[in-house]
């Protein structure tokens, strides 16, 4: 199973909370919108990623678990 992170760019208004909570994966561009350095989340960062998803004020950060047969 792999866990990936995605941004819904319509919902995102650039609060930047994700970059505060998950600087290993999320950088902000010059306008304050997140750039994911890598969509795949390494295991040790999983809890931090979940916290960033929950903390997003517009629920624009999405976590997706991909099992073998998903979709």
């Amino acid at each position: 199973m792999s866990v990936t992170l995605h941004v819904n760019p319509i919902a995102c208004v650039g609060h930047g909370v994700c970059a505060e909570l998950l600087p290993e994966v999320v950088e902000l561009d010059r306008w304050g919108y997140p750039i994911l350095v890598s969509a795949a989340i390494p295991r040790p960062l999983l809890n931090h990623a979940r916290r960033a998803v929950q903390a997003c004020p517009t629920l624009a950060l999405l976590i997706e678990k991909k099992a073998g047969k998903h979709r």
Partner: protein, 474 residues
Amino acid sequence: MTATRPMPVTGPMPVTGPMPVTGPMPVTGPMPVTGPMPVTGPSAVMPAATRAPRRLPRLLAGIGTGGLEEHERRHGPLPGRGRRPERLIDIVEAAGLTGRGGAGFPAGRKMRSVAAGPGRKAVVANGAEGEPASRKDRLLLNRLPHLVLDGITLAAQAVGADEAYLCVHGREGALLDRLDHVMAERQAAGLDPVPIQVAGLPGRYVSSEQSSIVQYLNGGPAKPTFAPPRPHERGVNGKPTLVHNVETLAHLALIARRGARWFRGAGLPSAPGSMLVTVSGAVIRPGVYEIEMGMTAGEVIRLAGGPAEPLRALLIGGYFGAWLPAETAWPVPMTHAGLRAAGGALGAGIVIAWPAAACPIAGTARVVRYLAEESAGQCGPCVFGLPALADALDSLAFSGGRDGDIGEIAALIPLVERRGACRHPDGATQLVRSLLTAFPADVRWHQRQGACDSVRHPPLLPLPGDDERDGDWA
């Protein structure tokens, strides 16, 4: 210095400079083309497909007043009696028809995935034609509406739909009136068992994107939505929805009558059939032409009467397409794979012949400004990135001499690309990338010396006027 200077235009025509070419073939004057087929000259680059006897026109064969009687006389009645409707999906797959709206996705596979979804389905015919340089969908809807409507009905029956929509540009009042009349004609003849509704979309570039159409038909603004769900999963009224371009549906109406083998009798094995192209710019006879898939871009220019003046480049695929220098473009086959391999994009078959006397940087700057204005305003990288890209291009094109512009453009492209909910920002960056690749000498000249003389050429790339653009998205 002179060697790197693009087009030192002193008179109306360029004298020297990088690549003021007329194409690898010495075609400068009007060609004596009278029929709908190109003159099959001694060209060595022409693929076998175009050397054969006349197989075209197909779609445009019935072009006339667009009446039902004329349509049925030419093509026969709506086919499919005595055949299970879903059988058409197999036939379309065997024919190898791909979407003619720009993406080129296999039409049969799309139908199959919609048909496999739960419950009743919906069908949307996309005739909104957001690309300013495209005219083919308007031509079909105005002159061959019954072919498109046959396609809608056949597709609706094949996927198991209980509602269908024909979407056109809402500012085309005359077309909407005409379609009312056409629908009445078909209703009287009892042709469409699945009800078809005509809808006028807001006149915005991204309104013809398929998720925009679905959101609009569901009562929302005609703006792209975040996927998933995609329309084939959950679309109009929550139903699995088939969205096909109107040309795709017109081909489907012919395939249903004549079969997969017939369809494959034109074009290439890997890209069968014919397609409509809209040719404009510096050609003798701009217009919509039907070509076999795989005809070379140079042959398309010849079909449109040849260059009206020396050409430098072709812009193929519209404003989501790419610039190709004329000598690169000339032998490229008009297929998705062929254009991709050449660093371009086929898109919806738009070919713009760019004269040597006009500055492509200025042309691109105007288009990118337009694309920035046409953002739906939903995604930050598009909202901020496209205007910044337009500013940098404006500066390079018209002020110039600032070393920073190129760096700024190069920095902005990755900040914009693939960061929106739809492909609008990606289309803009593809166009800009291709400008930098196709005209490196011009770019260097502008960066060092400022605007070249040919920026004064009147704008060539069509942009809708303010009266054709809606401020409102609903």
